[in-house]
Symmetry: C2
Subunit: 199 residues, 2 copies
DNA sequence: TTGACAGGTTACCAATCGTTAACTATATTT
DNA sequence: AAATATAGTTAACGATTGGTAACCTGTCAA
């Protein structure tokens, strides 16, 4: 019966770790949530740290398969409206997808534990976004859609306000509508500043 | 001997809570760091939660007396250069002041614990900054120093890139020089976009 | 039919947690 | 000088933690 217990453990662990952190999560609660005994967990994972590492792997895999891949498959928009529409779609997914949210929360909570986690956080919260955007903005500047300006600063100026709103949404989910709306408004605002109107 | 033990406990607790969080911190280590016994802590505080609440109060007081007050005493810059210089000073303090840094880290780690903490985090990380900036930007627009644009978006566009760099510095202190430099560069960049050149 | 095994259980272990009690030494007050 | 308050100690408490051992039970292959 239930050959999927191993995965269900991860689902619950994922919820708890991303809310209470590693130290604040205990195995009894994970087991209780699943209706099994704490000892049963050890039939599937050899230690708490093993469960922890597995949840991190889940997040990593999901991130690589979805966030990263969809970033690389992103089209170079040929109009400002196309850029807006495309970005608003991405923002909505990043802001509302449960797996992405939990992974982000986990990384936020644990980012000060060690240098490796810190580096991962910087990479995921800033670097990856900036690099993706640079790949989009460079041709847009070349095509006369955006004003010709320092592309690093441009990517930073675009990515971080949206990140801040996403973080706000992470910690206050009841404000999801508000933050999503504000993020979309910011996309429009950004284009109103940096976009070049066609004549 | 040592009538300041009560305060020294707070200093150590402050370090540990802001690195490992509430659940990840234990009283033995706090005591050991001070060269006293765990039981001695109870001569000064009645419980772990009491110590926790006291550290939160320390952060709150410091924040109100320094960050908030200096924000309110801020001058309205009469030139763009003055704005840049003023802001770079503020950024340096916020980025490097140990007490402010620890308070920020603590809030980052614990922001998902309950709704009140979450609200505090949003207030401190976004709202307060944005409100302060709006008070500065409004007269600057009126005086023809900045282009006339949506002031909420303008404040968001200025505050969040710097916040992101500060967060990066928090988790990777060895990059302090880099992040500080980038933040200062961003101030210049921001003015190059939104500032109105005198003729 | 039997035997192996996967996936549970109960019961327990040692370590660690926050916390308290009883005691001691040192100042301070009366 | 005696009494008291302060700030520390040692030792222990009960609860909780991650982890283990022994046992049970259904499924499935030999």
């Amino acid at each position: 019966m239930s050959g999927n217990t191993k995965e269900r453990i991860l689902e619950v662990a994922l919820d708890m770790f991303s809310q209470y952190g590693y130290a604040g999560t205990n195995l009894r609660e994970i087991a209780a949530e699943l209706g099994i005994t704490k000892a049963a967990l050890y039939k599937h994972y050899k230690s708490k740290e093993d469960i922890w590492n597995s949840t991190m792997d889940v997040f990593d895999d999901y991130y690589k398969k979805n966030a990263l891949k969809s970033g690389k498959e992103m089209k170079i928009p040929s109009t400002l409206e196309e850029f807006k529409a495309q970005e608003k779609t991405v923002i909505k997914v990043i802001m509302t997808n449960p797996m992405i949210r939990k992974g982000r929360r986990l990384l936020t909570i644990e980012q000060f534990r060690d240098e490796k986690t810190a580096a991962t956080a910087t990479n995921r919260f800033i670097t990856t976004n900036v690099e993706r955007l640079k790949l989009i903005f460079a041709p847009m500047i070349k095509n006369g859609l955006l004003i010709d300006t320092d592309i690093d600063m441009l990517a930073l100026a675009y990515a971080t306000p949206i990140s801040a709103l996403i973080q706000m949404c992470d910690r206050e989910p009841q404000k999801q509508e508000l933050t999503l709306k504000r993020a979309e408004e910011f996309v429009d605002y950004f284009i109103s500043i940096y976009g070049i109107k066609r004549t």
